[in-house]
């Protein structure tokens, strides 16, 4: 039973990556020479909060067989909007940011679903345009957030290891897991990602779901950006491609495939936690910065190898050859 449960890549990949990284985290005092503290866990969860909503946003588009490059633009827009409008009422700033993100996502989703365009060039264009927009809004400089109460509030420790920011991120994952796990929606999204034409024929409302997926991804990315802006007490007009790439790594470690049709929010959660813990391990053990990059390269290399059809055929052929010899 247990073996069968783990035999599916969308469970095996996140479970094993989280276990390995947790073991490495527990063993990190051997290298750093100081015992683990609650604060390390808090820091790791802060890293999780920074990446989580972005990873969830890109992850659900990947489950539906799309790839939303624009999330990092929406992320920047969200922090810029929240920081600009939420000085006196932080909640209002978050609302404005989320509304902007949802609007961008819905517009893109409508375009992609109605015209059946591949999402990558469309979201790439949106990303460039949003980057320009945040530059225009801030004049090319990072914008400071004067409300220090909000900054202190989002990062205060709750129960030793959490903060309101990481709890909100966790809540978003659990909500997504509940919605996709307990309703037909999860299966329908995977169906859209796996075989779009077949799911359309089977009566799945493909276009409506796609619009919803992109709206959700825009909303989540903007929310993540808004919280980040409050936490840093400033908004950066150009976060670069790094957050996007880390979010994609988290999603891939979470068992989502770029081809679509595979993955769950809980897998995404495990993948994101793995990436956040990994960053924390590198920080506590004072490994040089490039070692993280090489580590990510190795991890993705494994994913490429597992997923590439050519290699799988090779393995199958060798296995068949051996079976033939045995009989």
């Amino acid at each position: 039973m247990n073996r069968r449960w783990l035999s599916r890549p969308d469970r095996l990949m996140p479970a094993s990556s989280l276990l390995i990284v947790l073991a490495a985290f527990a063993a990190s005092p051997l290298v750093s020479g100081r015992p683990l503290e609650l604060f390390d866990a808090y820091n790791a969860l802060q890293g999780f909060a920074q990446l989580g909503l972005l990873a969830l946003a890109i992850g659900i588009t990947m489950i539906a067989g799309e790839f939303d490059l624009s999330v990092v633009g929406t992320y920047a827009l969200g922090s810029m909007v929240a920081v600009s409008t939420g000085a006196t009422h932080p909640a209002l700033g978050v609302l404005a940011a989320v509304a902007a993100g949802a609007a961008v996502g819905a517009a893109q989703g409508g375009l992609i679903a109605r015209l059946r365009i591949p999402s990558m060039p469309v979201t790439l264009a949106t990303y460039i345009a949003l980057l320009g927009l945040t530059y225009v809004m801030s004049g090319g400089l990072s914008k400071t957030y004067p409300n220090s109460d909000a900054t202190l509030w989002v990062d205060q420790t709750v129960a030793g290891i959490f903060s309101p920011r990481s709890l909100l991120t966790l809540a978003a994952f659990l909500a997504a897991a509940a919605v996709l796990g307990c309703t037909r929606l999860g299966r329908e999204l995977r169906a859209i990602g796996g075989d779009r034409r077949a799911s359309r024929v089977a009566g799945v409302q493909v276009d409506r779901h796609l619009v919803a997926v992109f709206t959700t991804s825009g909303t989540l990315a903007a929310l993540g950006g808004a919280l980040l802006g409050y936490s840093y007490a400033s908004a950066n007009p150009d976060p670069g491609l790094q957050p996007l790439i880390l979010a994609a790594v988290a999603a891939l470690l979470g068992g989502v495939s770029l081809a679509g049709g595979r993955g769950t929010p809980l897998g995404l959660l495990a993948g994101t936690l793995s990436v956040a813990l990994l960053a924390q391990i590198v920080a506590t053990t004072a490994l040089p910065d490039f070692s993280t990059q090489l580590l990510y390269a190795a991890l993705l290399g494994v994913i490429v190898a597992i997923e590439s059809p050519g290699l799988r055929q090779l393995v199958d052929r060798i296995r068949a050859h051996r079976l033939e010899r045995l009989s």
Partner: protein, 332 residues
């Protein structure tokens, strides 16, 4: 009836009844109208801009199109051959720039050859994994970006690379009023266009990009064709890296900057479809020049960098939608 015939018939049935003539002809689409309004508007805007119609400005436009353009022409082949895009372009250019500057004491020609070999090797390996094993290009190039970027930081120790000799300064000189990079861009475009249209490998790139499974079934060397496309892209990226290095006279790990997305934007504005199978190097050259002209007009009219980026994004979006609608219309 052969299997191929049956597949073709099934495909024809699946896509419904087929009108014999293209429906787009005769009846202008909304995008044709938008194009007919916007292009003259833009031309008028450009021509009435102060200092736009001058030789110096034309030179400036070409010079600013050159760096990104060279890489974009190479990226066209990759996109035509159906491996979408490389997300490791900046890192590759950076590493090549470092190798080029670090080997300056061997002489300009040797350093140039080493740089080209470095770029071709890095990209050809990625092309081989994609072509022979069918690996996902996005995941693979993200991994390659991490590996190349990490290795670059490792070997350079995170400090800028400074050259021991100044031989590279020849590459910054101008000839007949234009920087050398512009001539290289034109040369690369001609070679790429000739490869795509007149060589077997180039023709096969379109077929592989159009339908990989069919190309494999027809016995085309899918792996080899993909490697050739990526190797060409590697050579182009290496040339951009060399020019970036010469222009900045030192190389840091962030030298590549936004090259990755700028190159993709130029290819897309040129009208090459991301799914592969169509597009040309000449169009990409056009795309790079159009982006450059647009930025130039906005700059001369006093708009900020942010506005230029915003307009560039909207332009890419418009072209992507227009190209998609046109190809969907002609296929239906």
């Amino acid at each position: 009836m052969t299997t191929a015939d049956r597949t073709r018939e099934a495909a024809a049935n699946a896509s419904g009844p087929q009108p014999s003539a293209s429906p787009a002809r005769g009846r202008p689409t909304p995008f044709a109208i938008a194009l007919a309004v916007l292009v003259p508007l833009f031309v008028v805007l450009a021509v009435t801009t102060d200092r736009f119609l001058s030789l110096d400005n034309a030179r400036a436009i070409l010079a600013s199109a050159a760096f990104v353009g060279i890489t974009a022409v190479g990226a066209t082949l990759v996109m035509v051959a159906g491996s979408a895009v490389s997300l490791a372009t900046s890192q590759t250019a950076t590493v090549v720039a470092m190798a080029f500057l670090a080997t300056q004491q061997l002489g300009l020609a040797t350093a140039l050859l080493i740089a080209l070999a470095c770029g071709i090797a890095l990209c050809a390996v990625q092309g081989a994994v994609i072509g022979f094993w069918g690996a996902n290009p996005i995941v693979l190039t993200i991994a390659a970006g991490f590996a190349i970027g990490g290795a670059a930081t490792w070997f350079s120790g995170g400090t800028p690379v400074y050259p021991d000799a100044r031989g590279f300064e020849t590459l910054n000189s101008t000839w007949l009023g234009l920087p050398i990079a512009v001539y290289v861009l034109l040369l690369v475009t001609v070679v790429a266009q000739w490869t795509l249209r007149r060589t077997t490998a180039g023709r096969q790139m379109y077929l592989v990009g159009e339908n990989r499974a069919a190309a494999r079934a027809a016995g085309l060397p899918v792996g080899r064709v993909t490697v050739v496309a990526w190797a060409f892209f590697g050579a182009c990226t290496a040339l951009t890296g060399v020019f970036l290095a010469s222009f900045n006279t030192s190389a840091t790990v962030t030298l590549g900057g936004t090259l990755t997305l700028d190159a993709i934007a130029a290819v897309l504005v040129g009208g090459t479809a991301i799914a592969g199978g169509r597009g040309s190097a000449l169009q990409t050259l056009g795309g790079a020049v159009v982006i450059s002209v647009l930025s130039d007009v906005l700059l001369l009219r006093g708009f900020s960098t942010g506005t230029q980026t915003l307009v560039k994004g909207v332009l890419v979006l418009a072209v992507v939608v227009a190209v998609h609608l046109r190809s969907a219309g002609s296929r239906r």
